[in-house]
């Protein structure tokens, strides 16, 4: 009797185990998805580790906090005294990014509104193709546009001695980040449920009122994300800003003065700095600074979005 009971219990346990074991394929898929999710985290940590590893000897060696962050003299190839000061590069990066976003975010969001709410489906198709085309132009080509077209334009219109400057780079960067802002912004607007629009229309709202009072608040997180993706794009862009800013080591006192960005410095110098040398390590330290900046931008974005949700 007892034996029988135990056997039944065992059987039922087996059955239960079998049941949980049964969908092996599902388990594999579950594992793959988990691995996919984890891999991005692992990759980020690996990248951070790699940058830290390459810049570590500089950080504990020639690194001088005061000089590095507060001196505008970046002189890695000096024959007199090698100096690593990134203040001018930091200021250049911040100026170019902020100005380009001041141009691109309002334009991009407005364009997203137009494409998603105001134009006919046929126009929509056309504009989307054109905007995707804008995204397909390689950054070196943008750089040439900066030198050959925008440079003489700025010289002539503003009567400045040089047209490769913060303004030029910001214009180029704005043009480059527009496609991203527009398409992400448009997605955000499309995600607003149709009944919102119908309800507003039923209340007699005009298209403008729907856009500003219904869609803007409803899609604000998505639009904010679009803007921040644009910031990321602007921060990280390299080749075009290298050519458009003039790549000149100085703190720009106005938007008409040339400057230099962190990314462009890495791009121009990393290729030929001997691997493992001090210059090489200093460039990786710049990479670390860039990493921290974009981390901070993303964190603030996250906080902003969460803060508004609550």
């Amino acid at each position: 009797m007892e034996m029988k009971m135990i056997k039944t219990a065992q059987l039922s346990m087996d059955w239960r185990n079998k049941k949980s074991k049964k969908p092996t394929s599902e388990k594999i898929i579950e594992f793959l998805i988990k691995a996919g999710g984890l891999s991005s985290i692992i990759l980020i940590i690996a990248i951070l580790f790699f940058i830290l590893k390459e810049s570590f000897p500089f950080l504990v060696g020639a690194f001088n906090f005061k000089e590095f962050f507060f001196s505008p003299e970046w002189y890695p190839a000096s024959v007199v005294k090698v100096r690593y000061g990134i203040l001018a590069l930091l200021v250049g990066t911040v100026m170019v990014t902020v100005l380009s976003m001041l141009i691109a975010v309002p334009l991009g969001i407005a364009c997203a509104f137009y494409i998603s709410e105001f134009c006919t489906p046929k126009q929509k198709e056309l504009y989307k193709v054109l905007i995707e085309f804008l995204a397909a132009i390689p950054s070196v080509v943008w750089g040439f546009i900066a030198i050959m077209m925008i440079n003489p334009m700025i010289i002539n219109i503003f009567n400045e001695p040089i047209g490769l400057n913060i303004l030029n780079a910001s214009l180029i960067l704005a043009l480059m980040s527009l496609p991203l802002i527009i398409s992400v912004g448009e997605d955000a607007l499309r995600a607003v449920p149709e009944p919102y629009r119908e309800a507003a229309e039923a209340l007699g709202a005009t298209k403008w009122e729907i856009a500003t009072r219904v869609l803007l608040p409803a899609a604000k997180h998505g639009l904010l994300a679009a803007a921040l993706l644009g910031v990321g794009r602007a921060l990280g862009e390299t080749m075009a800003v290298l050519m458009a800013t003039g790549h000149s080591i100085q703190i720009p006192h106005s938007i008409f003065e040339p400057g230099r960005t962190l990314t462009a410095t890495i791009a121009a110098e990393l290729g030929e700095s001997p691997k493992g040398g001090e210059h090489y390590q200093a460039l990786f330290t710049i990479g670390l600074v860039l990493f921290l900046i974009s981390f901070a931008v993303n964190l603030t974005a996250d906080k902003l979005i969460r803060g508004r949700k609550q």
């Binding site: 030198i147 003489p152 010289i155 001695p161 040089i162 050519m243 790549h247 100085q250 110098e269 030929e272």
Partner: protein
């Protein structure tokens, strides 16, 4: 990867006669890259069994690649430093061989609107050197440049690891002085010319081969009363032009027969014609 792709291409295009193509890797100076490419192109006709893959990146890149043994020939617009030679010897077991393949005069050029005819090395140092006091064109022989706001000098330079940059610095400032910060440090000779062409205030420098009629090359004199010499081929050959230099190719100490044959061919009349066409001066007989 690139090597495989190129080999596949050759396999698809040319080799119906079942002959294998030998690939020679050639890398380095951006000053030399156009010439090296033109040579490689022509050499295909001379010896179809040899393909030469040319890429730029700068003299430092090419020499580093030679030291690491990843290229067969390194192009350089400066002589190899003794410590680089030592390193190459340590890595590859043999000394490198040096070939002077041509001469280059470093042209200093300005916008056509700028009336200056020539400058001394000292004036160049005043414009480009750290601590130099020439900020406006009026500081240089009282020049007024039409279309240039405030007469401000816009210095166009190159990124600090370019061979052209290093040679220019040494030629006008010697070995113990830096170039002034705040110049436009562009990534190629082409870009420098493009920028000066569009900017009345600007001054720039590059290898003679890049010059085009939209910018004006000035004559250079060694001292105040010395004759002002134009960057021309004749003046580079007789070395009267103050900023002219040799252009080099380096190979491993004991290059393979094919590499050696190619280096010999670069001395032929055929190759010299290409050198002149590219805007450089053929190397004197060695």
């Amino acid at each position: 990867m690139a090597r495989i792709v190129i080999m596949l291409l050759f396999a698809l295009v040319g080799c119906s006669k079942d002959e294998s193509v030998l690939l020679i890797q050639n890398k380095g100076s951006d000053t030399l890259v156009n010439l090296a490419q033109a040579w490689a192109e022509k050499y295909k006709d001379v010896k179809p069994t040899v393909a030469i893959a040319v890429s730029g990146g700068g003299s430092g890149t090419g020499l580093a690649a030679l030291i690491n043994g990843t290229v067969d020939i390194a192009n350089s617009s400066r002589a190899m430093k003794p410590e680089e030679r030592d390193e190459a010897k340590k890595n590859n077991g043999s000394d490198v061989s040096e070939f002077i393949v041509g001469m280059d005069a470093l042209a200093v050029f300005i916008h056509p609107k700028n009336p200056i005819e020539g400058m001394t090395l000292e004036e160049l140092a005043c414009i480009y050197g750290e601590g130099g006091k020439c900020i406006r064109w009026s500081d240089v022989r009282g020049t007024i440049v039409p279309g240039c706001k405030d007469n401000k000098i816009i210095r166009v330079s190159r990124q600090s690891n370019s061979g052209t940059y290093q040679y220019f610095r040494e030629a006008i400032l010697g070995k113990k002085r830096d170039l002034k910060l705040g110049s436009m440090d562009l990534n190629g000779s082409r870009e420098s010319i493009d920028l000066v062409e569009k900017t009345p205030c600007a001054i720039g420098y590059s290898g003679m081969g890049y010059l085009n009629p939209n910018v004006r090359a000035i004559c250079i004199s060694k001292e105040t009363n010395a004759p002002c010499i134009k960057p021309t081929m004749a003046n580079a050959i007789d070395k009267s032009y103050p900023i002219s230099r040799e252009l080099y190719m380096y190979t491993k100490g004991s290059p393979s027969a094919e590499v050696k044959a190619y280096m010999d061919w670069t001395q032929s009349e055929e190759a010299k014609k290409i050198t002149i066409k590219a805007g450089y001066v053929p190397a004197p007989k060695r």
